[in-house]
């Protein structure tokens, strides 16, 4: 599959999708205008709307690659991202930078700046140097900082920012021996260490469509849609659209959104969303017992993550499939590392799409190794962990922590001769009233996946006893993972949860009651339009509500008086 082919396919589909999205956008404008009566002044609005989003490690890396080239090495360990409300994207609007974290950012910044200015890159990336008309290279340095500053801060540098970069350049030149490139590297590392690069900082402006209300300014819009759709920094064309004001118009915004979504790089954005949605960063710490699962080599986990993401991209982006089919698809990306665990012969080294036969026990992403091994223990499967993941990730139905004094001894004893299978062991959960309230929501689905061991390998028995993989979800009975996938595919909670998660991801914050209207509209549109994820994302980014600054909840009069120090 080539990038051009993806490009053409996506463009063609958008011709069809565009009309419905435009109608939706119009409806959203009207809805937003109707709601404008209740908006409050911008100062209050700013108090409740996060304006700083720390770039994720993936976004930082992609931004550097886009600005300076993929051969610039980003070496070092980043401070971990934080998962809030199920998403790292939401955590990005709550975290700051610790001292240890900043030390890393500063060190990484210096290694990047040194590479950009080294002899191998300076010609292309700096593009000028000391010359007859500019003997110390000062004019060149200023031009460079203005140009690269626009890319790094995703807006033009302000006068004092340029002045500071030049002061840093002058200081470095004076103290480090006068070399142009050494000084340029030092000052560049300052820009890279700046919070304006490490954080995506949003700014607002008066909303021309809603008198008295605020909306994101053009530069902030460019960053928001770029990091959402590409998981990376805006390119020069998008920044030009911000500069011209085009992003503040419906037509100009739609043109850029369609361009970004038609690009092969939209796949990066989609992968980032699904990686976060499925909590795949947790796979970084998955390890399996090599004695129990000898086929599960260390490299399997990374390839398993890649397998599911490739499967998703193929179905939802390349083929513009129905989101729900992720739970039933027999198409899977496969490579030679993973094929032994699936017990299928695959000789090629790279990736290729593989189709499981109708009688094979694999269908849907829940039967892939990333999900199965990721929600298991190092040495055995876990019906409860898998069931919990399905509830929380796919159904947006959080499971509370277990009661503190629960006695697991009977339910989990793998050596008890009477409790040979996971089903027999977890049945005791369901016999205990306190446990049952949560376990009946998790275990039946997890038990349907018991035909796969802790490494995701298929099996028909546990300890010599045939596995019973039957269960029921919301009145739909199933037997085994394939039928479970079918039941989940047709369960409206799953598609509704995807919409809710996509909206949280897109906003990078928790949803509030203010978002209920937008959420309801998106859910309806998603189901009536055929469950196409790109259409959902497009509907979000073309909605004026997406750029509106969330107003503060109006305080009761008495409380407002107290806050203002009024008497009586």
């Amino acid at each position: 599959m080539t990038g051009d082919r993806v490009n053409r396919q996506i463009k063609l589909k958008w011709l069809v999708a565009g009309l419905s999205a435009a109608v939706f956008a119009w409806a959203s404008v009207n809805a937003a205008q109707r709601g404008s009566e209740n908006t409050t002044p911008a100062a209050d609005a700013a108090a409740v709307t996060p304006q700083l989003f720390r770039l994720t490690e993936a976004q930082y890396r992609a931004s550097i690659a886009d600005i300076f080239g993929a051969d610039i090495r980003v070496a070092g360990r980043f401070e971990p991202d934080l998962r809030v409300d199920g998403l790292l994207a939401v955590g990005g609007s709550t975290i700051s930078v610790t001292r240890g974290g900043f030390e890393q950012y500063e060190a990484i910044a210096r290694t990047i700046a040194d590479q950009v200015t080294d002899p191998a890159h300076r010609g292309t990336l700096v593009g000028c140097g000391p010359s007859a008309v500019d003997p110390d290279g000062r004019a060149c340095a200023k031009t460079f900082f203005e140009r690269v500053g626009l890319r790094l801060y995703r807006r033009p540098l302000g006068p004092s920012e340029i002045a500071l970069a030049m002061k840093n350049w002058d200081d470095a030149r004076q103290q480090l021996g006068g070399d142009f490139y050494v000084a340029t590297s030092a000052a560049l590392s300052g820009l890279l260490s700046g919070m304006e690069f490490i954080f995506r900082i949003e700014n607002t402006t008066a909303d021309p469509a809603r008198p008295g209300a605020r909306t994101l300014d053009a530069w902030s819009r460019a960053s928001r849609i770029s990091y959402l759709l590409w998981n990376s920094t805006p390119d020069e064309e998008l920044l030009a659209a911000a500069k011209s004001g085009a992003l503040m118009t419906d037509a100009g915004l739609a043109a850029q959104v369609d361009r970004l979504m038609a690009s092969p790089r939209f796949i990066n954005g989609a992968r980032a969303f699904f990686d976060d949605y499925l909590r795949f960063d947790d796979l970084n710490t998955v390890s399996k017992d090599g004695t129990i699962y000898p086929r599960y080599r260390a490299a399997v986990t990374g390839d398993a993550r890649e397998q599911t993401l490739r499967t998703i991209v193929d179905l939802l982006i390349v083929k513009r499939g129905d989101f729900r089919d992720l739970l039933t698809t027999r198409q899977v990306a496969m490579n030679g590392m993973l094929s032994p665990l699936y017990k299928i012969p695959v000789d090629q080294k790279g990736w290729a799409m593989h189709e499981f036969g109708p009688n094979e026990p694999r269908a849907g992403i829940l039967t892939q190794i990333a999900f199965l091994a990721g929600h298991s223990h190092p040495g055995r499967s876990s019906a409860t962990l898998r069931g919990k993941a399905i509830r929380e990730i796919l159904m947006c139905d959080p499971i509370p922590a277990p009661p503190a004094n629960v006695n697991f001894t009977v339910v989990q004893d793998v050596n008890n001769p009477k409790l040979l299978t996971a089903r027999a062991r977890v049945q005791a959960h369901l016999d205990d009233e306190e446990c049952a309230s949560c376990h009946k929501r998790m275990d039946p689905m997890g038990l349907a996946l018991e035909n796969y061991d802790g490494a995701g390998q298929y099996r028909t028995s546990e300890n010599g006893v045939p596995i019973d993989a039957t269960g029921e979800l919301d009145g739909v009975k199933f037997d085994g993972a394939v039928q479970l996938g079918q039941a989940l595919r047709n369960n409206p909670k799953v598609s509704a949860c995807l919409v809710e998660t996509a909206l949280r991801y897109s906003f990078g914050r928790r949803l509030t009651a203010m978002d209920d209207g937008m959420l309801a509209r998106l859910k309806t549109q998603f189901s009536t339009d055929g469950y196409h994820v790109p259409d959902l994302i497009r509907a979000i980014v073309l909605s004026p509500t997406y750029y509106a600054v969330t107003p503060a909840v109006k305080r009761p009069r008495r409380l407002a008086q107290l806050a203002a120090g009024a008497k009586g």
Partner: protein
């Protein structure tokens, strides 16, 4: 930084940000090192999944306490270790959140259901704020787990101090290119540090405007960012000065990388390398505060080839009727105490002044539960090691008789010079110092 609590939420006023605009060079801070008395260092050592009370709690109080089976590995270092048994975690009407409530209460003075909901910084952060500023690193957060998230050091619920997760990364961070041997004869200030420091100290009009227009939550985050920048500036300032000599400092060799593992024997090996390296980091004045997290609260440790890990075993293993306890759990818990004994040994092996490095340390070890099988938050095992420069007793057993764990946290802060006369939230707040521990 000013802190308060308004309607249950922490409020942080942005004093450090204002402070940030002031230009300081950190000279005074550097002068606090060396010059006579050895600095007293504070650290925590954490292991997950607690112990089996009947196999861990000594029966005899005071000095020459008995060593039940799970404490047997401490025999060679018993004179350095004090046992704090039978202290309670006041839940203040909150649910006991398994593996969280007890750990959080011990570290923050108030139980919470999860780290994201904590109302105050952890003990180590409070102490680091008080004493950490004269060192190259304000704190070193370490774990041999391979996972940077294996850390229980938090500024607030959304600010976790991530762990350095492998021996090799630890070496590179402390003894890599930025390290200055305090005993080297020559010292030439590297102007690169001056340039780096100067670059970080710059403030633009655009940032000032930003601070005026952002909301309170974002402002607190920006404030924290600037505090972090400021601390790195101070570190760079220190690196421009000749470090005071440190007689016990011997620069360690670069370690072989030990693959991070959940296998407990391999974990112990990685931990030992990191403990030895930490001892030298302390002796070489690189930090005065540290956290070593041996295993996670939900201890992921296991033994290669076994289908059931430590945490699972605590809940699933049947009590052996002959022995009267869970044998696998007992083995894991005892091995964790072996790792703790290794740690103490590493610190005690370094001669410093008239005694050892450990004599000038206060190490606080604790777990997240007592009896893991039922997540008991009362009687969570706690210990100290070292004498804090002569301020505390070592080698004694104090039975808390159900007193609040906040007494321990308060005492640790006071010993380390934090001006606190009371500690803990709501009903668990106490002003009662654990005087039995004081020398």
């Amino acid at each position: 930084m000013l802190r308060g609590v308004m309607r249950g939420g922490a409020v942080v006023l942005a004093l450090p940000f204002l402070d940030y605009f002031l230009d300081t060079n950190g000279t005074a801070i550097a002068a606090s090192l060396g010059g006579g008395r050895m600095p007293v260092r504070f650290g925590t050592w954490f292991w997950g999944c607690g112990m089996i009370p009947g196999r861990w709690n000594p029966t005899k109080a005071g000095s020459a306490y008995d060593l039940p089976a799970q404490l047997a590995p401490l025999k060679p270092v018993q004179q350095h270790v004090s046992i704090l048994s039978n202290f309670a975690v006041p839940l203040e009407g909150q649910a006991n959140s398994p593996h969280y409530s007890g750990n959080i209460a011990i570290r923050t003075g108030s139980a919470a259901e999860g780290w994201q909901k904590i109302a105050a910084p952890t003990l180590d952060v409070i102490i680091s704020d008080a004493i950490g500023s004269g060192s190259v690193f304000r704190s070193l957060d370490l774990s041999p787990s391979g996972n940077p998230r294996t850390s229980y050091s938090y500024r607030n619920g959304s600010s976790q101090n991530a762990a350095i997760p492998t021996p090799l990364e630890m070496y590179q961070k402390i003894f890599g290119t930025d390290f200055h041997d305090p005993n080297a004869a020559a010292f030439t200030p590297d102007p690169h540090y001056m340039v780096r420091k100067s670059i970080l100290s710059g403030v633009t009009d655009e940032r000032r405007k930003l601070m005026q227009r952002i909301g309170a939550a974002d402002r607190a985050r920006v404030d924290q960012y600037f505090t972090s920048v400021r601390e790195i500036e101070q570190k760079l300032a220190l690196q421009l000065e000749k470090p005071p000599p440190a007689e016990a400092c011997r620069v360690p060799a670069k370690p072989q990388e030990i693959a991070a593992s959940t296998d407990i024997t391999q974990r112990e090996a990685g931990h030992k390398v990191m403990a030895d390296m930490l001892a030298m980091a302390l002796a070489c004045n690189q930090t005065k505060v540290f956290n070593m997290t041996f295993s996670e609260a939900l201890a992921e440790l296991r033994s290669d080839g076994s289908t059931t890990g430590y945490h699972q075993s605590t809940h699933e293993e049947l009590t052996d009727r002959t022995l009267g306890y869970q044998p696998t759990v007992d083995k894991f818990a005892t091995q964790c105490m072996g790792a703790w004994a290794d740690f103490v040994t590493s610190m005690a092996a370094v001669k410093e002044g008239d005694g050892t490095l450990l004599d000038n340390m206060l190490v606080f070890a604790h777990s997240d539960v007592s009896f893991a099988k039922n997540h008991d938050p009362n009687g969570i095992p706690m210990m100290t090691a070292g004498r804090a420069g002569g301020k505390i007793k070592a080698g004694i057993h104090i039975n808390g008789n159900g007193d609040s764990v906040t007494r321990v946290g308060l005492t640790l802060q006071q010993v380390m010079g934090v001006p606190a006369d009371a500690w803990g939230a709501a009903g668990s707040r106490t002003n009662r110092t654990l005087t039995e521990l004081l020398a």
